[in-house]
């Protein structure tokens, strides 16, 4: 009898879990994303915690001047400096460095090999042409990509759902007018607008997010609209009206939850699409500002330094794995939400 009382949401989750590939992809993706959120603790040029002359210091949180640790200048301490490193080894002092001792923008002034340097014990995946650690840039770049994709997916889904719901539920003239508006809006040349805006404004992630959101909602809006057009005529909508529910209540409680299949199914694919969009824009130099770590910028570096195979290869691997994981998740989600498969 217990199987009878499984709620619809839980049933979908159980069906999702049945697909091992999708389930493990989700876990792996969340794990990787979680790690990248802690990037400052995993890959940083400052020790996490150190003890100097009997005092505990937290270089990750505070900026200490070089003088604090017996240096000559009143400038922020460079913890990769062999002199500072030595200071932490003296009489009872110690320092715990993160596993990878580079931030995405750390320049190692004490490196022994010319840049770009091949993978070594110092730089696990080598350095790029400016001497920055590729591992660190990949880690931070992955985080930027995923966060950007999450934000873009969120705004796109929200806009798409609202516009689709309004068109589909009210139908008639509202629908007709909005469809014509969308036809005009979708015929605007997105890429050229991006290029134009990139030269007018200072490039920034938020500007990119706004521009891509302005056009990204239309695909989803069509699906939500179609589902709403179908569901608005079902009897439980009429029943809801007969029970005295308002339009907003009917949309929110009854039609929207029944029209979520395209929204949820497309989530992972929209995310991988967003990651790809950001990467290609960065590759072309139209994306994030130059100082930001990004996968696209790394790919461009790989293209410009073909002899430094470690840059292109590792970036390509990270991109492929990310997109593959997202595709697997999307595939499993689609199967889990497919009602026709139930029988």
């Amino acid at each position: 009898m217990t199987t009878l009382s499984v709620s619809p949401g839980r049933r979908i989750w159980l069906r999702f879990k049945e697909n091992r590939r999708g389930y493990w992809s989700l876990i792996l993706f969340c794990g990787l994303f979680g790690l990248s959120l802690m990037a400052e603790l995993l890959s940083n040029d400052k020790p996490l915690v150190a003890r100097y002359n009997g005092e505990l210091v937290f270089p990750v949180l505070h900026t200490y001047s070089e003088k604090t640790f017996g240096g000559d200048f009143d400038s922020p301490a460079d913890y990769l400096d062999p002199f500072i490193r030595d200071q932490f080894r003296k009489n009872g002092n110690w320092a715990i460095y993160p596993p990878n001792t580079y931030r995405f923008d750390t320049l190692n002034y004490f490196a022994t090999s010319p840049n770009p340097a091949p993978p070594s014990g110092e730089n696990w995946l080598g350095t790029d042409d400016r001497g920055r650690d590729v591992t660190a840039r990949l880690l931070y770049g992955f985080r930027v990509s995923v966060l950007f994709a999450l934000a873009l997916t969120f705004t796109g889904v929200l806009l798409g759902m609202v516009t689709g719901a309004v068109q589909g539920y009210f139908a008639g003239k509202t629908d007709l007018l909005f469809q014509r508006f969308m036809e005009i809006w979708s015929s605007m040349p997105e890429l050229y607008l991006l290029i134009i805006f990139a030269s007018i404004f200072e490039p920034s992630i938020s500007l990119l997010l706004i521009l891509l959101s302005l056009f990204g909602w239309m695909g989803l809006s069509d699906y939500v609209r179609a589902d709403f057009l179908r569901n608005r005529n079902l009897e439980y909508v009429q029943a809801g009206r007969a029970l005295g529910l308002s339009n907003a209540q009917i949309i929110w409680r009854h039609v929207l939850p029944n029209s979520l299949t395209p929204v949820v199914t497309f989530l992972p694919f929209r995310m991988s699409g967003a990651i790809l969009a950001l990467t290609s824009l960065d590759f072309l130099g139209l994306g994030v500002p130059p100082s930001t770590p990004s996968l696209g910028e790394l790919l461009a570096q790989g293209k410009n330094n073909l002899d430094a195979w470690w840059i292109a290869l590792s970036t390509f691997a990270v991109l492929t794995i990310t997109l593959l994981l997202l595709t697997n998740i999307g595939d499993a989600l689609r199967n889990a939400l497919d009602v026709r498969r139930k029988a």
């Binding site: 009382s5 009897e235 029970l243 005295g244 029944n258």
Partner: protein, 156 residues
């Protein structure tokens, strides 16, 4: 004094008049069955009582408890629907939202019309379901009986 009074009701969609000059009255405690061929306008007549027909033009009068239904505002209509006048749909499988439990949907009406919280509504729902001797919550053939407590949950 009759509870419901319908005088010369006509309902038209576009150019076609679907209900033409219908009059009847129902007193409190009285039952009335409307019988007819399919397409003869039974459903449209019934839906008119709650003004649920979309894009329809009404003529005539519908008076419920002495108040005109046809001239009421949409918000005032919502207060009548499901509270004073309830409706049981003929196809129970589609009249319930497939994503929510039956209890959820009965409680929703209670919360809406009686202004009680989610907890009180849940208790009252169980009470109502017990009254209709309904225990197994996913049995298909009995769904129509679920529609009745949903409809009568708040109706007096």
């Amino acid at each position: 004094m009759s509870l419901l009074e319908i005088q010369n009701l006509s309902v038209a969609f576009g150019a076609s008049t679907v209900v033409d000059d219908v009059s009847f009255t129902i007193a409190a405690g009285e039952k009335l069955a409307i019988v007819g061929e399919s397409g003869s306008g039974k459903t449209v007549t019934a839906l008119s009582l709650l003004r649920l027909n979309q894009d329809a033009r009404y003529a005539g009068r519908i008076e419920f408890e002495g108040q005109d239904i046809l001239t009421r505002s949409e918000a005032a209509m919502r207060a009548v629907r499901g509270k004073d006048v309830a409706m049981i749909f003929q196809e129970p499988m589609t009249a319930l939202n497939p994503l929510f439990t039956i209890g959820n949907q009965i409680a929703e009406v209670l919360m809406l019309h009686e202004g009680i919280g989610a907890k009180a509504a849940a208790l009252r729902t169980v009470e109502l379901l017990d009254k209709t001797a309904f225990r197994n919550r996913r049995a298909g053939p009995c769904r129509i009986r679920i529609n009745s407590p949903a409809a009568s949950a708040s109706a007096r």
